[in-house]
């Protein structure tokens, strides 16, 4: 029987190694907590501006488009190729009209590119003002906080037959915070080094990760609850260990099937959902990990009153280590 619980210090060290760089990247300028942008490289959904997604009828080159945009008075334009024939052009928010009776800027730009670069096959357009951008971030953040509080109380209630039920709720929320922080951190770092932007699909991703994280934690906790009620005489850390092992098959299978879906989407799904996929993929790994190695271990530490001792890494705690092999026979 593998003893997972005894090495709990290591898991916290591992999580800390992920979270500390995440926090540093989130807090350091540019960005920082005050703007709620948190070092993430915000797309127009969070800043404001316009994005044109243009597909031409033949391959085009980026510098030519850049120089056209400069000629049109948009030196700030960022041009990104998404395929040989298509580009994303990011600019500040384009004006609805540049003077009385004139056409909107977007039309002028498209007509110009159609003339000078290549005929346009299709063009999509997004434009967001700062009002909406600020709100989206603030509301998502608030929604997650409120949802966390509700979930905490729900778990407290659902686990009322287990002793000290509130601990399950708090541990689940800690795992949730752990997962969202790591995903945010990863994207903050990716944004710094690879210019990966976060946009509204990122928000959908974060919500998906949050849902997955809580669900996964509850499955492991459910087993702990069952074992604790059935074997009140057993040591808590042993029960947690058994519960983790008993749910391991399910955890791995569920993660694996989720990965299959993600893989299928990655292979076929368009570029618009690729960002979402990356968020969810990271979230699934972190979410599965945190249910076993953060939420459950946190319960053990709380039970043993070890908050001060967490960093005595890997030191085998007596009882569990001595009787490392044990098995609870149900019924």
């Amino acid at each position: 029987m593998i003893n997972i619980v005894s090495k709990r210090g290591w898991y916290f060290l591992f999580s800390a190694l992920l979270i500390i760089p995440a926090l540093i990247s989130l807090i350091l300028p540019p960005g920082g907590w005050s703007t709620l942008e948190s070092g993430l490289k915000p797309g127009i959904d969070f800043t404001s501006g316009s994005v044109m997604d243009i597909t031409f009828t033949k391959p085009v080159n980026q510098p030519a488009i850049q120089s056209r945009m400069e000629a049109l008075g948009h030196p700030e334009a960022l041009i990104q190729s998404t395929s040989p024939k298509s580009v994303l052009i990011r600019t500040k928010q384009l004006a609805e009209s540049t003077g009385a009776g004139s056409r909107p800027e977007r039309q002028l730009i498209q007509a110009d590119l159609d003339d000078h670069i290549a005929p346009i096959e299709s063009a999509s357009f997004d434009s967001i003002s700062p009002i909406i951008a600020r709100e989206t971030v603030r509301n998502t953040f608030l929604a997650l906080m409120v949802a966390s509080v509700f979930i905490l109380f729900f778990i407290w209630y659902a686990f009322r037959r287990a002793p000290k039920a509130y601990r399950y709720g708090i541990s689940a929320i800690i795992a949730l915070a752990h997962d969202t922080l790591i995903v945010l951190g990863v994207f903050s770092i990716l944004g710094r080094f690879f210019s990966i932007e976060v946009n509204t699909t990122f928000i959908i991703g974060i919500l998906t990760v949050a849902g997955y994280s809580v669900n996964d934690t509850i499955v492991v906790f459910d087993r702990i609850r069952e074992n604790v009620i059935r074997h009140p005489d057993q040591a808590f850390d042993r029960l947690v260990n058994t519960s983790i092992l008993e749910t391991l098959g399910r955890s791995l299978n569920t993660s694996f099937t989720t990965f299959l879906v993600l893989l299928a989407m990655l292979l076929i799904g368009g570029p618009s959902i690729r960002g979402l996929l990356l968020v969810v993929a990271i979230g699934v790994i972190v979410g599965t990990y945190s249910s076993i190695f953060v939420a459950s271990q946190f319960l053990v530490i709380w039970d043993r009153g070890e908050f001060g001792k967490v960093f005595r890494l890997g030191r085998k705690t007596s009882a569990t280590a001595a009787t490392g092999l044990f098995r609870i026979i149900p019924r």
């Binding site: 005929p119 003002s129 929604a143 699909t201 099937t257 879906v261 799904g269 019924r331």
Partner: protein, 598 residues
Amino acid sequence: MRGRSFRISLFIIIILAISISSLGFTYIDLKIPGIPRLERGGNGPLGLKLGLDLRGGTHLVYQADTGTSISFTLAEESSPHDIEELLAELDLPPFELLSNSPIQYGIETSLLESETTLLIEETLQDKISPINLWEVSETPQPTADQMEGVLDIINRRINLYGTEEPIIQRFGEDRVVVQIPGTGGSISNVEFSESTSSADLEDLLSRRGFKDYSVNSISNRSYRIKTKSLNKDEQTDLEEILSTGIGAINSLEIIGGSEEAKSLIGETAQLEFKERTCTDSTCQTFTDADLGLTGDNLDNAFPSTSPNTGEWTINIQFDGRGSDTFSDLTQRIAGDATKRIAIFLDNEELLAPVARAWIPDGRSEITGNFTREESRKLSIQLESGRLPVPLQLIQESDVDALLGSQSLKASLLAGLLGMSLVIIFIICYYRMAGIVAALALIFYSLLVLAIFKLIPLTLTLPHIGGFILSIGLAVDANILIFERMKEEIRIGRTLASSMEVGFSRAWPAIRDGNLSTLITCGVLLWFGNRLGGGLINGFSLSLLVGVLASMFTAVIVSRNLLQLLAWVGLSRNAGFFSPEGFKRPDPAQDIIHTARGR
């Protein structure tokens, strides 16, 4: 037990039949009096309704333009930089400083208290320079009725544009969301020198390989042709096709569809009063004469009940010039049976009342057996003609129809491939039970799609995100049940009883996990409704439907299928349920358990 199981099976089959038939048909007409015909259909696969991001169109969010704008002229020259710095210290909401010259400035910001504007004035006078001219104009928060007026006008205009099923909704207190499908393309307004017919045009276009176009006739020589968006070459082609196929072209203007829709919304409504002279006794035929009296002359319009009769009436009050014109008019036509006052909104007749008496003060009452609702609605329409709330476009998203259909195809393929991979894996791993899970999963997907269609829900990418997460949760529920079953088999239960026990052991985890997801959905929906965008709403709504359907599937379908399996005898061989089979603990014990299980 067996009877119950068959009843449940029947129930499942009925639900399945309803799901499949609702996906297959676009309307249900029972032809029973009193039950209206139910229409549910869209243009997506299985008749689902697709959102703009999946089929192309324009999504616009407008906000009533409230706020304070101050313009002032300084006595001495100053720099915008100095003023901006000074204002930044005053702790104002985000503002914009405009400057025309070193002495002329403007401040645009959200609605300010009068003390705050006073503070700004004093600070500028103290620190910068004396002020020569100081003007404050305020646009307050619109009332609910005003917003309704705005919706009414936008509705009118979009319908004028003739697009299919636009969605116009109020969001929050002061926002309007307008969704116009199919605007991603181009609109070609063409006028031929000779008259032609729509049929000829349509015939020509389809012969020349145009797909998904529509032709609207404006007159017998001019037409509006909606097509996919045309680039420069294609525009030249179209011109050539039309001129060679139909005849000489007087004028051809090709614009983007979304631009036309936006310009329509942007126009202000025009309310006009005209003098009507009837040329027959029932006033079926008439002539209208301009009076120069428009919505600009109207101060307000509101519903009330008449003190004498208790009838609902509409009160209107003209401004000074309007009152004079109205006074002249009523003096001239009062009591004249052939005269009416016709009121038009955007050239569409609203009302044509008779003037009963001379109204010298511009304050009049229109009666006409109105219901309370009618009088309220007409007042709003009159008011909206007078002063539409100024709107500011705060978000725009245009998706090209081509791109939309591409991402739909990609999502569908990805979904199908994902499902197939999951089914293959789960059957390889859990064998017989995996087939149960696969059937449950297919049932689940059909059920969710049918619910989406029946609500009806307009599917967008966020909906698909929520749906995919809920598929994950549905698969997880099955895995939880099977893992528990395996455990029960390992300790020596029969397959039949393992199924029962495995299910009831797995249930609390499924229930609590799904309930917590439902809570999250609830919170997100609550927040989503206060947000201007449908993003969070879409995600959480489809997740909500998905989770409910997944619980139903786990409790009813998976369980019942497992029971059926047990009874038809397929559960005798444990190898059917796991690749490694199960180490039967002890043959003797197995017999005892089997005996007990029966």
